[in-house]
């Protein structure tokens, strides 16, 4: 192997990488936040909504989970512009990600909601809790607490797949790296740099989720009680 590695010329573009990483995090943040809300609402609808709503949500989840994100975003972004609906690329990208991650969140949360023990619900009823209270405190909150590790992995994966949105023109980390490649012709080095940056980003996202978990799920921190 007589290849001369040249990381210097690639790394001199670090402000671009930094900006791209910022955009990636921004995309992931909004997609995570809105996607989580959408997913939980869908999970609630799918496990205790009226029959027609359950069917619609079920179809949504199956369609999204059985088609690739790339095709979904092509459909959404190119489709929207073909019918004259113009929106900033960041909005479109977040929308595509939200639609995608909402389905995955729904499936994760729903599976746990449905596995809740009947005795829990009866006990809650005996304590005189209203149906809303039962839903919030007995079903939803513990369910989310239990699936929090799976959700974390799913959202780290979400951060990684934002790179796919570069294919529809989002200027996030991967999209930015395309222009660095075009400027330096150092494709391999660019990919190695990307690899390292993404490793740091996924550690960062994991850390943030751990920290949020520490604050949100106080019970686990204080008592160490079994879930």
């Amino acid at each position: 192997m007589n290849y001369q590695f040249d990381f210097e010329s690639v790394l001199s573009y670090w402000p671009m990488f930094l900006e791209g990483a910022g955009t990636t995090l921004q995309l992931s943040f909004w997609a995570t936040l809105i996607g989580f809300v959408l997913g939980v609402l869908c999970a609630v609808a799918r496990s205790s909504g009226p029959a027609w709503l359950r069917k619609i949500v079920g179809a949504y989840v199956e369609i999204i989970r059985n088609t690739p994100l790339l095709v979904q975003s092509y459909c959404l972004i190119f489709g929207m512009s073909s019918i004259g609906l113009r929106m900033p690329i960041m909005v479109g990208a977040v929308l595509a990600l939200v639609i995608n991650i909402g389905a995955y969140t729904c499936e994760i949360v729903r599976a746990d909601i449905e596995s809740i023990h009947k005795g829990q619900l009866e006990a809650a009823e005996c304590l005189g809790l209203t149906p809303t209270q039962v839903y919030l405190h007995i079903i939803l909150r513990p369910a989310i607490e239990r699936v929090y590790p799976s959700l974390t992995s799913q959202y780290v994966l979400l951060m990684l797949v934002t790179s796919i949105l570069s294919a529809v023109g989002a200027n996030e980390l991967f999209g930015v790296s395309n222009s660095v490649q075009a400027n330096t012709f150092r494709n391999f080095e660019v990919f190695i740099v990307l690899w390292v940056v993404y490793l740091v980003l996924s550690a960062l996202v994991r850390g943030v989720f751990w920290l949020v978990g520490q604050f949100v799920f106080v019970r686990r921190r204080k008592l160490g009680t079994a879930l």
Partner: protein, 217 residues
């Protein structure tokens, strides 16, 4: 959409299936090695396997695609066929996931089975092959089929860096010349769905059956 365009889409779907099958075969072998290394009695082997998993799972598939596409050039390969690079990248990525999935399955075989095998005087390899793996296989089938769906979906990315002609690539080409995104990407999505949905259902059925068998035991 005329018949030629439809044929072009179907051609793309073949590309997708071919890439998925190749990936499944190679990633299965490599993933098995990763899983066995993860439960190895030797600490350095375990450590190596888990860092491999961390390293692969912490980066997007697109980056792996790029490395596998441009990397072989540096090692002296002059032209890297798109199918080779795509299979390599997908194999590396999927093997990390398979390794992690199968490690869980191996470790979820009841402790007493491991001990019983030891009591019968089986060696380490015998215990793994004759006692643990057959039982782990049953547990592993549903998540493995589930992950095959992921592989099929992940092949769509092979069109981006590498330019391998699979379903979403062909759909994009058709859309570029006609600009009817809903039609072509809708059809592509439908084809993906037709491939993935039966597998998803199968995985769910297997899981239900497994749960029932475990509940009865």
């Amino acid at each position: 959409m005329n018949i030629q365009q439809f044929e072009y889409l179907i051609q793309g779907a073949w590309g997708t299936l071919l890439l998925s099958c190749l990936t499944f075969v190679f990633a299965g072998m490599l993933g098995m090695a990763v899983a066995l290394s993860r439960v190895s009695p030797l600490k350095p082997v375990r450590l190596a396997a888990s860092s491999y998993i961390q390293l692969i799972q912490g980066t997007p598939l697109l980056v792996l695609m790029g490395v596998c596409f441009y990397g072989p050039n540096l090692l002296g390969m002059n032209s890297v066929p798109a199918l080779f690079a795509a299979t390599l990248a997908l194999t590396i990525q999927s093997s990390a996931y398979f390794g992690e999935i199968w490690r869980g399955c191996i470790q979820s075989v009841a402790r007493s089975q491991w001990e019983a095998a030891e009591c019968l005087g089986f060696g380490r390899a015998q215990r793994m092959v004759l006692v643990i793996l057959p039982q782990a296989l049953r547990i592993a089938t549903p998540p493995t089929v589930g992950f095959m769906v992921q592989i099929v979906k992940n092949t769509s990315i092979a069109s981006l860096v590498i330019g391998y002609a699979e379903l979403s690539y062909n759909a994009k080409i058709l859309n570029n010349s006609t600009f009817e995104p809903f039609l072509y990407f809708g059809c592509a999505a439908a084809l993906y769905f037709a491939i993935c949905y039966p597998m998803s259902m199968w995985s769910r059925k297997l899981e239900k059956r497994l749960n029932a068998a475990r509940g009865a035991a």
